[in-house]
Symmetry: C2
Subunit: 279 residues, 2 copies
Amino acid sequence: MNQARLRIGVVAPASRMSPDTADKVIALASRLYGERAPEIVFHPQCLATSGHFAGDDATRAAALVEVANDPAVDAVWFARGGYGSNRIAEAVLPRLNEAARAKTYLGYSDIGFLLAGLYGAGFTGATHGPVAQEIQREGGEAAIARALAWLVDRDPAALEPHAATTPKTVAFNITVLSQLLGTPLQPDLTDHVLMLEEVSEAMYRIDRSLFHITSNPAIRRVAGIRLGRCSAIPDNEPDFGMDAEAVARFWCERSGIEWLGRADIGHDVGNRVVVFGGG
Amino acid sequence: MNQARLRIGVVAPASRMSPDTADKVIALASRLYGERAPEIVFHPQCLATSGHFAGDDATRAAALVEVANDPAVDAVWFARGGYGSNRIAEAVLPRLNEAARAKTYLGYSDIGFLLAGLYGAGFTGATHGPVAQEIQREGGEAAIARALAWLVDRDPAALEPHAATTPKTVAFNITVLSQLLGTPLQPDLTDHVLMLEEVSEAMYRIDRSLFHITSNPAIRRVAGIRLGRCSAIPDNEPDFGMDAEAVARFWCERSGIEWLGRADIGHDVGNRVVVFGGG
């Protein structure tokens, strides 16, 4: 039955993965799926180091291209966010082949630079969802189980509930979307529900990024915005006077973008899956 | 001789000014210029409070429009940066009259949102330079003296040395420029020397913002980039592996933008004056 097992290739286009992540994730997959467990192949590049990154730009790009282009790999799973996928996204895209085009690409946060570029290039498998490193969080097995449920069985329970019933959806970290606006990575999001989440940013920064996002003429063509969780917000001095939802509602009203309510995504073990463009 | 005295109007489109700033600045101006001292009129709005801001958006916008449109005011000086001028910049521009069009507007950092909008709207007086709040810094009198030397006498010694001899120049805080890219506030910087500075941002954030700026097709038409001081950079974990100049050189090389060297600007008392578009 080994031939029928899903094969997942893991690479780290941004920050380095923790060394024991691979063993923990593979053990969990085996416990959850037994003989059906997917084969999860962690590329050695996940543990490479170059300053801030999991290897230098060329090393990270080469690993991603290698795994994405491999016809024997069914899905590309990102080891971790952090910082750095923006540095390779544009260079990687023209190097991807037809085998790459058919795959699922699962990750979020900094990985949004890549998901944006893939989606803009017409790939249908760009997917927001837990990264392998999530296993290191308290309660992180739930996030990994959700990622695997999507990758192995396309389990609808893994999906963000609104995304499951919305024709066109995308999900981004607020700062990451802000930092790709006006670059070749910005995808056309006309008529999409835009889900946004944030972590570890002061309220004034969230406000400024939402100004930036909602002031962009192309972004104003979205069908509406849903706000995921904004967690670990550092104190603002003086107090900002509005919470994340109030700020998101404010910028929706100011920009004429429809406020659609909350989304079940965020930098936590509850983070749900959103397929870019819809399933 | 009072009729000949320069009249400077001070407003705070972002964060609130410290209460004793007005007295300190006026005393210094008197000491420096005696009878020639400019009349510096601090709008009461400088001390207004609304959460993070020097009054709510409507209050801040009204004060700026009032002072800018007043034919008896020769120059608009910004009390302080901080955060918030992005929230009013677009709404203020269409409310400005012909008297507003002839004035100098002096400030920097968060004020860059306004300077960008004014410059994009064809105003010739948008000027990067010290804000009034600078008087609170250690050695801050030098910054205020430089601001006044420019406003009162157009003293060439106040100018950033390269800007003084370059036909077209602009200066921005890195984060602020990044956060206005792709919005209606983004000015056409074709053939301009772009001077950039930063404060209190981690190296990975500086790297990400410079990715963002140098990946923008319109920004790639600048004549080149000069880097001002990047100060108070918080520790990066792990160490980023490059300093601010190395990062700026990297993104210039990657994007094909010419690296022109350093600029004498920054979030400090040595911050020099740059007239948007040239003097």
